[in-house]
């Protein structure tokens, strides 16, 4: 990336880098070295060969995630159904216009479920309290990788990290058009458009096998994760 590299180096930095260079038997390098190989270029990357959506569903379910495909007009009703089935009383959600378009809040409220929308600049204590006592966090995604079966979420004011993390269940609404065959496209895209403070790849529920190697889900993050793929908008 940046080529001029010597600007504003502190004494401490110069000393540390000189020590490293010295261990390599030379002066500090200031121009970018040529990379003989880079990333996955030229490798057979694991990517969906056929239908990406199908492959995502298979991979996601294989690690214990739940999933379904619905039409846009059915999506909100479906979320309400799932929430009722899971005994959800409180939902916290991202402030993504897609969720408004789908009519999520009215559908949930009609089912007697309260909704807190976490917006940019929200009161921190209040937002954290709400998300900590919510039964379900609802988000969208930036991308979905069919291989290995992962949701990619970017943090932002209206897309906080805590919503997909603190509640015991997480449901992501996924526009089917955001499903890509593998990770490569996502890596390129994220690096190009500039990174959010946090990029999360989520591949199934929170899990541990730390006690006698028995798989348990939901140790810190959500134990139930649902990917609801939304076709045509």
């Amino acid at each position: 990336m940046s080529e001029e590299r010597s600007f504003g180096r502190t004494e401490e930095e110069l000393r540390f880098l000189a020590r490293v260079a010295n261990a390599l038997g030379r002066e500090v390098e200031t121009s970018p070295p040529e990379q003989p190989v880079r990333g996955v270029r030229g490798l057979p990357t694991p990517e969906a060969a056929g239908n990406s959506l199908e492959q995502f569903l298979a991979n996601w379910r294989a690690v214990g995630g739940e999933a379904d495909v619905v039409r846009a007009r059915e999506a909100a009703g479906r979320v309400a159904e799932i929430a009722r089935e899971w005994g959800v009383g409180r939902v916290v959600r991202w402030n993504d216009p897609l969720l408004d378009e789908l009519g999520l809040d009215p559908a949930l409220q009609a089912a007697g479920i309260s909704v807190y929308v976490w917006r940019a600049g929200a009161n921190r204590d209040e937002a954290i309290r709400e998300v900590d006592r919510a039964d379900l966090g609802v988000t969208t995604v930036y991308w979905v990788a069919a291989e290995p079966g992962s949701l990619a979420l970017l943090s932002g004011g209206d897309t906080p990290r805590a919503v997909s993390l603190l509640p015991p269940a997480h449901l992501a609404l996924v526009p089917a058009s955001r499903v890509v065959p593998g990770l490569t496209a996502i890596m390129r895209e994220t690096a190009l458009r500039g990174l959010s403070a946090s990029l999360n790849f989520i591949t199934g529920p929170s899990r541990t096998a730390d006690i006698e190697m028995e798989l348990t889900v939901g140790v810190h993050g959500p134990g139930r994760v649902y990917a609801l793929l939304v076709e045509d908008r």
Binding site: L17, V40, S155, L165, S198, L199, S206, T208, D210, T216
Partner: protein, 480 residues
């Protein structure tokens, strides 16, 4: 912390008497190993991927000064602070200062081996800051005042009953010993810690030089909690854990979980780039990257061992190591167990007297090197260590004597023939199933723990003419 006996031999003896440990280590490593085979297949040409992993890591090491410089610039340009620490003490001091500046009462940690290496928790406790390990396995062993026994599964040596006892003490009432109850209890307890922690500390699986990002691979979600809730996030990284670009991170995402636990990807891969941005309410307002040398430049300087810094801490070499599988992680005595531990511990500590016997904890079967996703020649390095240990005159006298005798015998055909005949004759009363099991003088260190193969009744040399003829008859290649 538990005090482990001083020598490898004593620690191994202790471990060998713990039947649960041996069984647990085997089950765990078998599971990881079986998963690895499966996950590797999903990647197609595994060898090509290993070679790519090796090439990227080797390239970074050859230009580490450049990439560290780039990383520093990128982190700073995104509002993060970088701290460069030559020694463990420097790193501890930096973090203690951050804790003081924030008036911190508690620090919540997501698994980080470097913080074990620099003994951070002790230093924090000394200034009255509670350090809470939040990875379930680490939490358990912290309650038990022990150290991790496996890179990926730190508490495999604990039974459910052990864990229930520890948790019952914390709760002040009995907690049932089934896994769900135990996990639930830990979830609640640690949730309080996440919500009130003043500083979050994590390790770093990889730092991306071109973007100044830090990638964390976790399954439980504690790494995400630690980087989401506290107002300060401190990353402690060994200075070698760099990849050049975001694209290179993808290679590691394919190699690390597959090699370690046999997953295609861990439940979470969290890529953090600086403190929270405008409008963000969660995530830390302060981001610190603590880059630790602590002996790594010594390894970098050493052509015989530089490749050891390619390690991505996946644990695959532990899972396949027959010695690790028998004795578990504690027998290695320090932070890093298994073959990689035996290689880097003497180097990082620069203390042959204390750790020079570690490289003997290996059968040199090379399973470790074969398993390593970045192709570190671990068994060659163990031999190089032994050579240095011997050259430094550190071997036990009996062993030196034995090898002098072997040298005498093996460098003269006449003496060799004589020694062989003598051996065949004199071993007779001691041989059981073609092995020598009695304690022979000079071989006691060997035969106490295993059987020494007896000298065969006929030498291979004597058998060769017959074997070669047989091979020719069978149409095999002629090696004569």
């Amino acid at each position: 912390m538990t005090v482990h006996p001083a020598t490898m031999k004593e620690r191994a003896a202790e471990a060998l008497h713990n039947d649960f440990l041996r069984e647990a280590v085997k089950i765990t490593t078998d599971k990881f190993f079986a998963g690895k085979a499966l996950a590797q297949r999903s990647l197609g040409d595994w060898e090509a991927w290993r070679e790519r992993g090796r090439a990227i890591r080797a390239h970074v090491l050859a230009h580490l000064d450049y990439y560290l410089g780039q990383l520093i610039d990128q982190v700073k340009s995104r509002g993060g602070k970088v701290h460069l620490c030559e020694t463990a003490e420097d790193a501890v001091q930096v973090i203690v200062d951050i804790a003081r500046a924030r008036n911190a009462r508690s620090v919540i940690k997501s698994k980080s081996m470097v913080t074990e290496e620099i003994q951070l928790n002790k230093a924090l406790e000394a200034i009255g800051v509670r350090a809470v390990e939040t990875d379930l396995g680490e939490y358990i062993i912290q309650l038990a005042h022990e150290t991790p026994s496996h890179i990926i599964a730190p508490a495999i040596h604990k039974t459910k009953k052990d864990v229930a006892e520890l948790f019952s003490q914390v709760a002040g009432k009995p907690i049932k010993d089934d896994t769900d109850t135990l996990t639930n209890f830990a979830r609640q307890k640690l949730r309080e810690e996440f919500l009130t922690g003043d500083i979050g500390i994590t390790g770093c699986n990889f730092a991306v030089a071109e973007t100044g990002s830090v990638a964390l691979f976790t399954n439980e979600g504690n790494g995400r909690m630690v980087t989401t809730l506290p107002p300060v996030h401190v990353v402690v990284m060994g200075m070698e854990r760099v990849v050049p670009t975001f694209e290179d991170l993808e290679v590691m995402m394919n190699l690390l979980p597959r090699s370690g636990t046999g997953q295609k990807l861990t439940s979470y891969v969290t890529v953090i780039t600086g403190p929270r941005r405008e409008g963000e309410v969660d995530g830390p307002e302060e981001f610190h990257l603590v880059i630790v040398d602590n002996g790594r430049s010594r390894i970098l300087r050493d052509p015989e061992f530089r490749e050891a810094l390619q390690c991505i801490r996946c644990g695959a070499c532990l899972n396949v190591c027959p010695v690790y599988r028998q004795i578990g992680g504690h027998a290695y005595g320090w932070v890093y167990p298994g073959p990689i531990g035996a290689v880097i511990t003497p180097l990082l500590t620069d203390d042959l007297d204390r750790w020079g016997d570690l490289p003997y904890a290996s059968s040199l079967c090379a399973a470790c090197a074969e398993a390593c996703p970045v192709k570190i020649p671990l068994h060659d390095m163990l031999v190089r260590h032994r050579v240095r240990y011997v050259a430094a005159g550190k071997t036990p006298p009996a062993e030196r004597m034995a090898f002098r005798l072997y040298k005498r015998a093996f460098t003269s055909p006449r003496r060799y023939r004589l020694a062989f005949k003598t051996a065949v004759t004199f071993q007779r009363p001691l041989v059981k199933d073609r092995h020598l099991s009695a304690r022979l003088p000079g071989l006691a260190g060997w035969t106490a723990g295993r059987d020494f193969p007896a000298a065969a009744p006929k030498r291979f040399r004597d058998l060769w003419p017959g074997l070669a003829a047989e091979a020719r008859q069978m149409g095999g290649a002629d090696h004569e």
